[in-house]
Amino acid sequence: MNNKSFIINYLILLAADILVLALCNLPQFLFVTILPVMVMCLPRSVNTPLGMAIAFATGFAADFLTTGALGLSSAALVVVGLLRTPLLSLLFGDTLPLHRSTVAFTSKGFAGAVLFVLIPLAVFLAIYITIDGAGMRSLWFNCLRFIISLAADSLLSFGAAVMLTSDKKGGQWN
């Protein structure tokens, strides 16, 4: 996937996320997001500071265009941006070919792909739900919201990751 295709796909997914949050009347226990995995799928050539800046802008756009509190998604997503590079090194090693525009998130099998989706999502949801609750919601409510959102968002995030990292040459699915 070239850079142009990646940017278009990234913006389409961001728009889809915003539309779901803005238009769908979701229950309180469910928070739908694919933003963490989108940040994780940024090309390897994007370094950590730039990755955090993109994550901040993505979160800010999502908050601005939905009814969410402005800055909330940014605060949680910047942490994912910070953890992106060490997490990729941990899951896929430092030997990943640099010529590839995006990470081959399934190259380490099913377990690697699940961790690639689950870890950033869990980090994001933990921060987002804690700040969103602002000490006013009970712990069990926050925990329930975290578990339900993590389960639902994992499936959506998996699809988003496939879309963002799909390679017409088919290299990453080997």
Binding site: T48, M52, A69, L70, G71, L72, V79, I131
Partner: protein
């Protein structure tokens, strides 16, 4: 390579902090609920930091506070002495407890506690007015006797010494006896020299007798326990000392101002015997 990596990490950290601060400021400005929560969290954090800082500061100033308290204790002892003298003059009494003694504050530089013959070193010497065979007392009772005096330091035997005996009185009647360390506990002692066990009851206070030139009369030493029979018909009374040697840092040296005259009299008394 290492420098490059360090710069990357520093840049990432700086960008992270900057973006997080911006995000949280925007959030607190636009969302009142989060704003209140942040304020509450910041107050809680700052109160914890203040408490920790105050504890550290207070711990660091303990040494100075101890010095101040020891100085204050010394001043109060001297003031008490002046009042006692004034009261004695008013009543027309010649004999006054504690008169004839000067108080010198000293800090314990070194002290042994694990031997049968324990000693201590004090940071006051003859230039500070310390004389040989002066008594040493702590905040709660007798500590020992000065055995050697240097220019700026003194060496003394503590009461935790099996060869030292302090002249004492016990009970309501004030029977004269000798108090010695029990050789085991840092706050344990016994008195000997009583003719029988009926003279003492458990709970009686043991005080200095004033019969030696080392200590004035009436300094509390400890509390008597159940009397026991010693060798022959004499009684031995276990005593729990008021002064615990484990927690001792500051002491007062009691210099007998009449010691030269007392020794002179003793010498004169010994000459006819020869």
């Amino acid at each position: 390579m290492g420098e490059r990596r360090f710069l990357d990490i520093a840049l990432s950290a700086a960008v992270f902090i900057l973006l997080e601060v911006i995000a949280l400021i925007v959030l607190s400005k636009t969302s009142p609920m989060q704003n209140i929560w942040f304020l509450r969290m910041s107050h809680r954090t700052s109160s914890i930091l203040w408490r920790v800082g105050e504890s550290v500061r207070s711990f660091a100033s303990l040494k100075i506070q101890n010095e101040d308290l020891a100085e204050r204790n010394l001043e109060l002892s001297r003031e008490l002495l002046r009042y006692q003298i004034a009261e004695a003059h008013r009543l027309g009494v010649d004999e006054v407890h504690y008169t004839g003694f000067d108080f010198i504050h000293a800090r314990i530089v070194k002290m042994s506690r694990s031997y049968q013959h324990n000693y201590l070193v004090l940071d006051r010497g003859y230039e500070d007015g310390v004389t040989l065979h002066s008594g040493i007392v702590g905040p709660k009772g007798v500590v020992g006797v000065v055995e050697a005096v240097g220019k700026h330091f003194s060496y003394g035997m503590t009461l935790m010494n099996t060869s030292i005996g302090v002249s004492a009185r016990i009970g309501h009647e004030g029977y004269a006896c000798t108090l010695r360390w029990d050789g085991i506990h840092s706050d344990g002692a016994y008195v000997e020299g009583l003719s029988h066990t009926g003279l003492v009851s458990p709970g009686d206070t043991v005080r200095t007798s004033g019969l030696s030139s080392l200590f004035p009369e009436g300094i509390p030493l400890g509390i008597a326990d159940e009397p026991k029979l010693g060798s022959g018909a004499s009684a031995v009374v276990p005593v729990k000392l008021f002064q615990d040697f484990k927690a001792l840092r500051h002491v007062m040296i009691l210099c007998n101002l009449d010691s030269d005259r007392i020794k002179e009299v003793e010498r004169q008394a010994e000459v006819p015997k020869k």
